[in-house]
């Protein structure tokens, strides 16, 4: 019955002989207590992390994302060819040659080099949009779901307003408004400002569910302030689906940037971007489809990696899906 690990607070009253019930360490309860203490602490996120490491999808997606991130940060590691130097019109839509594994664009630039150097644009847009939608979505969703009543009515209707306009069209209008200032930040803003309501909705629904939990009622009974309950108990327990949705929406943002560039309202053609390259390649689709295929492939694989990662995270965080497998 040696229970040396239990807290000092338990022992003190016993030493003073001030109570009429057996000391916890002397009862059968001590066994249960001891087992609990020696066991590794666990929670939703630790479980999910353990589950995630068993999934091949997680590794495939992770490796692809790391490759893309390295290419974005250090393009020099992948190619020595500068994307815009040495563009010879003689090479226009040319077949692959030595040192230029994917051939040449219409302007005679190296396709492989342009893809590598375009990675950072796509990833930056994806990242900025994600941070933005996450921030606005979490604030709106959390407040609406937790406080309910008029706060919910106001914030949810605000979300509906942005949700009712298809976000590609809204982004086209915004990009037309800022036609003189087209850069990575402006295009991210144009996409993000209409993309957040879905994040807010997911979080709001989850918070409505979590709010009913016993531990929330217990905290209320203990007199913890409403805001503190939201921040300490409700939000950490309802953020899981948001993480999954956000990872997937990062892929959607990358695709949206390419779509806007394709529509001619995206980044200026001087900016290296997969969307611009695909857009410029469309005129030669019949004679030189490879010019269009390669940047599209890079785009699809990157988007695929983030979608796969999001799905793996979602499945790992969902105890129901874990049991079903």
């Amino acid at each position: 019955m040696a229970n040396n690990t239990s807290g000092g607070a338990m022992d003190r009253p016993a030493n003073r002989n001030e109570h009429y019930v057996a000391n916890l360490a002397d009862t059968a309860m001590a066994e249960i207590d001891a087992v609990r203490i020696s066991e590794k602490p666990t929670n939703l996120y630790l479980d999910a992390w353990r589950d995630l490491r068993k999934r091949p999808m997680f590794y495939i997606a992770g490796v692809l994302i790391i490759i893309a991130a390295v290419a974005a940060l250090f393009p020099g590691l992948f190619t020595q060819t500068a994307p815009n130097d040495m563009c010879l019109l003689a090479n226009s839509n040319g077949a692959p040659t030595d040192g230029h594994p994917l051939g040449f664009t219409r302007q005679g630039c190296d396709i492989y080099s342009r893809i590598v150097h375009g990675t950072s644009t796509s990833l930056s847009v994806g990242l900025i949009v994600t941070v933005m939608t996450m921030f606005i979505g979490v604030v709106f969703g959390a407040l609406a779901g937790f406080y309910g009543k008029w706060v919910d009515a106001l914030l949810s209707r605000a979300g509906d307003i942005f949700f009712a306009i298809p976000y590609i069209l809204a982004a086209v209008v915004i990009m037309s408004v800022f036609s003189d200032y087209r850069n990575v930040w402006v295009i991210s803003m144009a996409i993000g400002i209409f993309a957040w309501p879905s994040t807010a909705r997911v979080l709001r629904g989850e918070i409505l569910r979590v709010k009913q939990s016993d531990y929330v009622m217990a905290s209320t009974a203990l007199g913890v302030s409403r805001f503190k309950i939201l921040m300490r108990h409700v939000l950490p327990n309802s953020i899981a689906p948001v993480i999954a949705v956000t990872t997937i929406s990062l892929a959607a943002a990358i695709v949206a940037e390419a779509t806007l560039s394709f529509l001619g309202v995206g980044l200026p053609t001087s900016t290296m971007s997969w969307g611009n390259d695909i857009s410029q390649a469309q005129v030669d689709l019949r004679t030189a489809p490879q010019v269009l295929i390669w940047p599209s492939l890079a785009l699809s694989i990157t988007a695929l990696a983030f979608i796969m990662m999001g799905e793996a995270i979602r499945d790992a965080l969902d105890p129901k899906a874990r049991a079903q497998r």
Partner: protein, 309 residues
């Protein structure tokens, strides 16, 4: 039920005004003078310019313009595009095309999405399931314009099965290729939705009971599994129909379909305020209506859900 519908319509009002105000503001903020643009390179006479500005209420402050416009809509007047054509005529010309395209796309989504999803769900973990999973992930992560180009290149140009672009009257056979392209993304989602729904339903007690009382597999699948799995799918399909009605800018652009999406895109690029705002207004109305119908449909399909009290 009536009370619920009334409440929903009441809730939709602020969304309607908010959305139209927002889009009106954004169009208002677009650079460039549309009247100068109307005259192109020739330049415009000052008196004509003033008169046109007054005619289109462009000399009024922003908020007055908005209310003049909204007031007109409630009287059935959707304004006049800068080319002089009433916007209602443009709407009447483009919406039927988009509706036809959307109906065809939803048909493909149902046929392929539910079919593949059902088989994948019943053969969970087998080759067919895994390959359909990979295919749907690929479709989801490929931008629609790339799919459109590939389909146009392979089926229209290389194989010659369809025309690469659609003519002015946008007939049924011409719209086949754009409709398939348009449906690909939703097909991918529906395959996954149907699959997980079928797997979940297959584990239910009533399915075991059905097998237990000796029903054939095909009957269990048809009557017990499929019917109960379709509730989320039907909901998704109806929402997607609403999205498609709002127009597919990219697909319509590539295949030259004279529908809502392409017309709206051109109007935005030209800075045609009235056309843009009118289209978006109609879109919001459709969006609100489709959402309401979806919720009601949900109640019809799933007896456990009841609105009202």
């Amino acid at each position: 039920m009536i009370g619920y519908i009334f409440k929903r319509i009441l809730q939709a009002l602020p969304v309607f005004f908010g959305t139209t105000l927002l889009i009106y503001f954004m169009v208002f903020a677009m650079p460039g003078d549309p009247i100068v643009a109307m005259f192109g390179d020739r330049g415009v006479n000052q008196a004509v310019y003033e008169q046109l500005r007054a005619q289109y209420h462009l000399d009024q402050p922003f908020i007055v313009q908005y209310f003049i416009y909204i007031g007109g809509i409630f009287q059935g007047d959707f304004g006049t595009s800068f080319s002089g054509q009433p916007v209602s005529e443009v709407l009447a010309a483009t919406f039927p095309v988009t509706i036809r395209l959307a109906l065809m796309a939803v048909f493909f989504e149902m046929l392929v999405g539910v079919g593949v999803g059902l088989v994948a769900g019943l053969r969970k973990g087998k080759l067919f399931d895994n390959s359909s999973l990979v295919m749907s992930l690929l479709l989801i992560s490929t931008p629609v314009f790339v799919i459109a180009f590939v389909f146009q290149f392979v089926f229209a140009i290389q194989l010659g099965w369809a025309k690469p672009t659609v003519s002015g009257d946008a007939g049924f056979t011409e719209l086949l290729l754009p409709a398939i392209v348009l449906s690909t993304l939703a097909v991918a989602y529906i395959v996954r939705l149907t699959r997980s729904s079928v797997i979940e339903t297959s584990g239910q007690d009533f399915v075991r009971t059905a097998y237990g009382k000796g029903l054939t597999r095909s009957r269990v699948v048809r009557v017990h599994i499929l019917r109960n799995s379709l509730i989320p799918v039907v909901t998704y399909l109806s929402i997607d129909f609403g999205v498609l009605l709002v127009g597919a800018t990219v697909t319509e652009g590539i295949f030259n379909v004279p529908g809502v999406g392409r017309t709206l895109y051109q109007a935005i690029i030209r800075g045609e305020g009235p056309t843009v705002v009118s289209f978006v207004t109609v879109m919001v109305l459709i969006y609100v209506a489709v959402n309401l119908l979806t919720d009601l449909l949900y109640a019809v399909l799933d007896p456990r859900i009841r609105y009202g009290k």
